[in-house]
């Protein structure tokens, strides 16, 4: 993808509007992530919205600028950490004496609290993995030149 930071920089309206919107997109993603138990949304949606915020940033300000904000290694790692977090919760429940992904054992006193904690953690894992995967794909496409 040919991303021309210099050409885009001259489009003042795009720059100003994007700068205004991106914090709210990221904040909304966090809301969708952590409010998923109570409202619509969850890890998958939040991950995509979070990635979309950074993709918008990359489109307006150019890939090199985006890479200074989110280095590729961070993106790559978050894909793996997300899946490991999800599977790790499963392993943790087994070690605590429950079945795989049986969140009730996560809290020794209150099964409901355990369920909430488990859902929060696995949703966060999904969010990390999805946001990372989306950005990996964007980086891989945007870094290519037609040659």
């Amino acid at each position: 993808m040919k991303i021309e930071p210099v050409g885009m920089r001259e489009k003042k309206i795009l720059r100003v509007v994007a700068r205004l919107f991106i914090p709210f997109i990221l904040l909304f993603a966090l809301y969708v992530q952590f409010h998923g138990d109570y409202g619509p949304g969850g890890g998958f949606q939040a991950g995509v919205i979070f990635a979309a915020g950074f993709v918008l940033y990359g489109l307006i300000f150019g890939l090199p600028t985006l890479q200074r904000v989110v280095p590729f290694i961070v993106v790559e790692a978050s894909v793996a950490i997300g899946l490991l977090l999800y599977a790790g919760v499963g392993v943790a429940t087994v070690l605590l004496g429950g079945a795989f992904l049986d969140y009730r054992v996560l809290d020794a006193h209150d099964a409901t609290q355990g369920l909430h904690l488990g859902i929060l953690l696995v949703e966060f894992g999904v969010g990390l993995a999805v946001a990372g995967a989306m950005l990996v794909i964007f980086y891989a496409f945007a870094g290519r030149r037609s040659d």
Partner: protein, 178 residues
């Protein structure tokens, strides 16, 4: 069906036909984004807000950008090909068979349909009683169907690895993009 749903379905069919007819790939890519947005609207009307979220963000947002990125690497116009009739026959026969199958389905939005009678009541009752959270979708995804979601996450991670393997083309990068 409400008039607004009929309107959205009508637009959906019109956009789909337009995408199939267009030679301009840029316009087709943008129309596919609109197609996803219309789908998201339909999902909202069916109270499937979680799915609508995903459709709007992935279908209308990220995948449109990826299609545009792909287009910038190739040509904007589709190569003109002679019209072939065999694929049309196959599509019409398959579509006809699917439409015939739909006739046997329960009515649109029927609460007594078998799919709403099997496990759904347990999930709805269990979410309130066991979890104490209002969003049944989250309870099903993260807990009742936790194994499925773990598998889905693994699929997404595999997709990312596949993209890296295909597009990084053997280059090793240090902190930069492939």
């Amino acid at each position: 069906m409400a008039p607004i749903e009929l309107l959205l379905f009508g637009f959906l069919i019109a956009v789909a036909l337009l995408v199939a007819r267009l030679r301009d790939l840029l316009a087709a890519a943008l129309l596919l984004g609109i197609f996803s947005l219309l789908c998201a609207g339909l999902f909202v009307l069916n109270d499937a807000v979680d799915v609508a979220f995903t459709e709007a963000a992935v279908g209308a947002g990220v995948s449109t950008i990826l299609l545009l990125g792909t287009l910038s690497l190739t040509r904007r116009e589709e190569k003109s090909q002679p019209t072939r009739w065999a694929p049309l026959v196959v599509v019409l026969v398959t579509g006809g068979a699917l439409a015939l199958g739909i006739l046997d389905m329960p009515a649109y939005g029927d609460p007594t349909a078998p799919i709403h009678q099997h496990l759904a009541p347990d999930y709805i009752a269990g979410t309130a009683a066991e979890f104490g959270i209002p969003n049944v979708v989250t309870a099903i995804l993260a807990s009742y169907r936790g194994f499925d979601t773990l598998g889905e996450t693994a699929v997404i991670v595999t997709a990312a690895i596949g993209i890296l393997a295909l597009l990084a083309s053997g280059r090793r990068w240090k902190g930069g993009a492939p």
